[in-house]
Symmetry: C2
Subunit: 685 residues, 2 copies
């Protein structure tokens, strides 16, 4: 009941406050008289069942008696059945979590206007077992690639003080099916595993648990040394293994349902088994052995790229493919959707189609590190679905989604991870509209088949207004927003031409000098020269195409058949190369950047028409963002076209609008923010 | 000298007249004092050399002495060398035709502003041996799919009266490298081979010959019966063979350099060898045997589609592939660029990549039957180059262009045909801008590598103005015009949803009733139903994809990898199918039709800015066309979206503009023109 006190107080306060966006998509109006809810005989009243019952009592307005039942013959694996029989809506599952998901599903149906007709049955089972947010939150309260204030986890106050935000966070996650959270940054501090910190973790886990959410931690592979005082962190060292075993035992004493570890090892300077001449298998399996008796998982990231590699995009495959089949059952290899790093548009990582004997899970980025952060509206469901539905051609036909849903052993777990966009700002995500990505990520883990249009509808109706005059146009804005961002940032497979470090805005010329890794420079990726543009990953280049199955390898490796959205990803293309529409690469670049500008302006214009349907506070906040997005699109266009023009030596097509900036000015401009800070909209060029 | 009298009189009169467009791209100002031209000793003064000399004397303004030489060690196959040595420009070739092409090349360089520097050598050989226009002109003066008045050939006046237009036509062709003309429609009347008509043909051939142009005729395969009075036209019948031999001998007596026959047989009701149980090989080889002693060719069209075929697009391949290798050396199979019929965008005909032992030539349509006729500006160089550069994957890699340029025997001839857009209207092509397609067709036959942008530049500078304020924007309009037309007419591989018969404007609902062939109905092609849109040519459908080599067969047959520009050509796609940009097929259709409208309006707006650079007459004529094109784009958009919406059951996206027409009105509208008439711009909806 403690949770409910918090919950209700949060909501009550929210309703009195100005519209700060804190209520997310959970804006049901409370009943004056509680709905009739019955927990059926034989169903244990767990905290989770209590939540389900209370949510329905408070918010269900559809009449009928609501019957909640947990029984062994109910749907397994978080699934549930909702059935309306006469005046009764029965909600049953094999678990109390399933009943809770049924409750949130019923309330969502109410809010978006889906009816539950007499005799209708809604039976759902989530596609992925583990639907997990990765928080890149640091113990010092900063959030890497966080654009919504500081971390929601108030480590200084914990465990004594438990913020009501934790429960609101848990509730929001449960309402969209998220059932796991990695609390801390993959660039993990060893101190995160200190006994002191673990007690704080336990306090959070206690809040999350009734909402069906298991707690996970990122771990620093060198923890035995850095924290435990051992002389090594060699995974084959008996003392190291014992240290981990003891530490894991300590964790499970505090957090009995602890989920396991997320590990970034031997990547971007983080320690790992290779420091001791051991492999990813040695490292991951050691942790897996330690966690297995407790039912814990290891999520081992494949985001590796040695500085010496000739093509960063090939590196994860090269390093992990030889290890396929050697990982323990409770290891999942966590693979970013693309071979590089959450770019506006990447082809899928070839590891998805290649690993046959190892469980893989996709890692998506909900936070918009490379997509306008908390300023631009970029609805990511379209991108994620594009990745999941990509055909890998493994074994005669297998999409990325199917590859990640295929269980490699009877015990293996299927999972999808999203890097959270959540912070302590009042509206959680910095931008009110960015809540849509948190929402969509959860819903897609549950059901990757649900359309992006449906997700946009659900989000908009629950969060803003169900008026079709609002939902219709804004659905289209959300659906078009990803492609628009690709157009004004990096069309045709361009990638990583962002400003250094903070990645907000264009900086294709970025080069700080010194011994910086070449693969941290835009020029490494765009390869602009007097001949053309793009990274040659064909046979004549890095041969990255060979990491894909046929016919993809041929298709992608051939300039004439490579899908044009990936043209510059796989090919160094002459400026004068004629594309399928008959225009040169250069002309198409110019028109496409301008198309992106037009689209961003269109979005701002559509939003301007939405004033009647949105409260003044959110309207104003979002208007500032859409206007800024349109300006940023111009900034991107001018920066990229003026910069690349130095290489192409070609004029802008005569029917293109003139640039609004001078290249010199843009190159002098520095946005003084770090990797933990959102840009100040007022100070952008 | 007779020719020159005509020539000069035409030009003189033109320069006094209002700007009627009759001068095409040949607008050099005549010298007051003739340039110094010397025909070198040993070079015979043929009529062709005389023309070359006179053109240079009249129009070359670059100083230097011009030296013309025909010598056996000069470039062969119509090729030439242009060399500037000090004050002399040497122009040499193994043939007088080569010298004439050198002269036109030099004059073109002058007109477009290319310099000929000291020591510079321009050495050119045309890519295709035969660069031929197909006139679909009927003896009664009509032109099938002609939108520029009536036929230029005044059969009634011939042979007594020879119109000066014939020579102006020959000169225009020579100036762009065209060296062949089929004078009459492929739907040929038997009477075309009457002795009376042949004397008229001879009179035309006499005018064309000095300009290096050989004359060809389309023949009706039943001529021995219909004209000769035989009881059969069976190609294996001795009397038939004799009839043809006699007829051919008669032709060659009149036209010693006669080129040969173009044959449309067993296609759309035309007679052919199959009427007698014989094959295309029997028919073509019989004519080839008859023509061979005279050096004549047979161009045998592969445009066949039996009414009973389950997929019209597969028919040409099915009928011709079994015959590969059986045709005589002097037979060329003439293949339309796509498998259906000159649609706004088609994949290439699989015959190009498939026939290994038979000479094939592409047939392009210069006249804009399906592309807005003489109203819309659609620059076709981009489309033709797209086809020629398409990879067929035959023998490890061969483009369509390479396939048609590969000689199958030492004697075989390479060729490219274009269906002419020429009529007797003053500006030749109905639209002043459509002259660009005649121009570009010739230039591309000569050099398929020259870019569409270069061709647009050349045309605009020579025809309208060399002012970069004109050329810059209008080059871009021309280059973008094809894709724009695809957008507002038939995006994503839609095809043949034109108005019945005349093919101007949209009529996806066209169904006149009665026993019409199913494959003459739009619904045969678009296959709209409640599920989706498009023609299934995958394995589950007609398996048309199997006519392409791997990896194309797999690539095209897989919804996820099929290039989206051909999506509905190869797949029946659900309306809700999510395309690569994250939008459904339906939403993308809506946005793309609107994009086409925006582009057409943009073209009209650009043209409006061109008033300072263009004479008033042509400005006004073209303005009316651009304005009408923009209106037609709206017509297309409304017709297609409103019609298909009946099947999709989905609303237009809320941020799309509302239709300007009602479907009922559009469906009632009939444009009362036939297949020989241009639409009246004033009477369109």
């Amino acid at each position: 009941m403690r949770f409910f006190v918090f919950l209700i107080s949060v909501l009550f306060v929210s309703s009195l406050r100005a519209e700060d966006g804190s209520r997310l998509w959970l804006r049901m109006e409370q009943n004056v008289k509680a709905a009739e809810v019955r927990v059926e005989r034989g169903t244990k009243r767990t905290p989770t069942i209590d939540i389900a019952a209370r949510e329905l009592e408070n918010y269900w307005k559809g009449g009928c008696r609501l019957s909640l039942r947990v029984s062994p013959d109910g749907a397994a694996r978080d699934g549930f059945t909702l059935r309306r029989s006469g005046d009764v809506v029965e909600m049953s599952s094999a678990s109390d979590r399933g009943v809770l998901y049924a409750a949130y599903t019923l309330l969502r149906m109410q809010q978006v206007g889906d009816s539950l007709r007499e005799g209708q049955v809604v039976a759902e089972t989530p596609a992925y077992d583990l639907r997990i947010l990765n928080h890149w939150d640091n113990p010092n309260g900063t959030v890497e690639r966080g654009y919504a204030g500081r971390s929601i986890w108030k480590w200084d106050e914990l465990p004594a003080k438990v913020s009501p935000r934790y429960e609101a966070y848990a509730r929001a996650n449960a309402s969209v099916g998220i059932n796991g959270a990695v609390l801390n940054n993959v660039n993990a501090k060893p101190g995160m595993l200190s006994s002191d910190m673990l007690r704080k973790v336990a306090a959070i886990a206690d809040v999350l648990r009734p909402y069906g959410i298991r707690t996970f931690l990122s771990v620093n592979f060198a923890s035995p040394k850095a924290l435990g005082g051992l002389s090594t962190a060699d995974p084959l060292d008996a003392d190291v293994q014992k240290w981990w075993a003891d530490k894991v035992a300590e964790i499970y004493k505090l957090v009995p349902d602890f989920g396991g570890f997320l590990v970034k090892a031997n990547s971007e300077g983080e320690p790992g088994p290779q420091d001791y001449g051991r492999s990813h298998v040695d490292g991951a399996n050691m942790l897996a052995d330690v966690l297995a008796p407790h039912g814990g998982l290891v999520m081992w990231r494949a985001f590796v790229y040695q500085a010496s590699s000739p093509d960063r995009a090939c590196q994860a495959y090269e390093e992990f493919m030889p290890l396929d089949g050697q990982f323990k059952d409770n290891v999942i290899i966590q693979v970013k959707n693309g071979p590089v790093d959450f770019q506006p548009r990447e082809p899928f990582s070839p590891l998805f189609g290649a690993m046959r004997h190892t469980q893989v899970m996709p890692e998506f980025q909900v936070t918009q590190e490379y997509l306008g952060q908390s300023i631009h509206t970029v609805f990511l469901a379209t991108m994620w679905k594009d990745v999941l539905s990509a055909e890998t051609y493994q074994d005669g036909g297998l999409t990325v989604g199917e590859a990640t849903l295929r269980r490699t052993t009877p015990k293996s777990v299927t999972a999808m991870a999203g890097v959270s966009n959540i912070g302590d700002s009042e509206n959680w995500t910095g931008s009110d509209m960015a809540q849509a990505n948190w929402y969509a990520f959860g819903r897609l883990c549950w059901d990757p088949e649900v359309s992006a249009a449906r997700l946009a509808d659900e989000f908009l109706k629950q969060t803003f207004s169900a008026d079709e005059r609002f939902v219709g146009p804004m659905r289209q804005v959300l659906l078009r927003s990803w492609e628009a961002a690709v157009h004004y940032m990096m069309p045709y497979g361009l990638h990583h031409i962002f400003a250094g470090n903070h990645h907000y805005g264009p900086e294709p010329w970025y080069h700080p000098g010194g011994n910086i890794r070449l693969d941290w420079l835009p020029e490494y990726y765009h390869r602009a020269d007097s001949v053309g543009l793009g990274f040659d990953r064909t046979k004549k280049g890095s041969n990255g195409v060979a990491q894909y199955h046929e016919p993809l390898a041929t298709l992608l490796g051939d300039l004439r058949t490579c899908p044009e959205e990936y043209l510059l990803w796989f090919h160094h293309v002459p400026w004068t190369y004629v594309m399928r529409n008959g225009l040169t690469l250069w002309d198409n670049l110019c028109y496409t950047y301008n198309r992106g500008v037009d689209e961003a302006r269109h979005f701002a214009a559509v939003w301007n028409e939405m004033r009647p349907y949105v409260d003044g506070e959110r309207f104003a906040r979002q208007k500032a963002r859409f206007d800024r997005q349109a300006k940023d699109a111009v900034w991107w266009r001018d920066a990229c076209l003026l910069y690349f023009r130095q290489f192409s030596g070609m004029p802008l097509p005569a029917d293109c609008p003139a640039p609004q900036h001078r290249l010199d000015d843009l190159m002098k401009y520095r946005l003084n923010i770090d990797n933990y800070t959102a840009a100040d909209m007022e100070k952008l060029p």
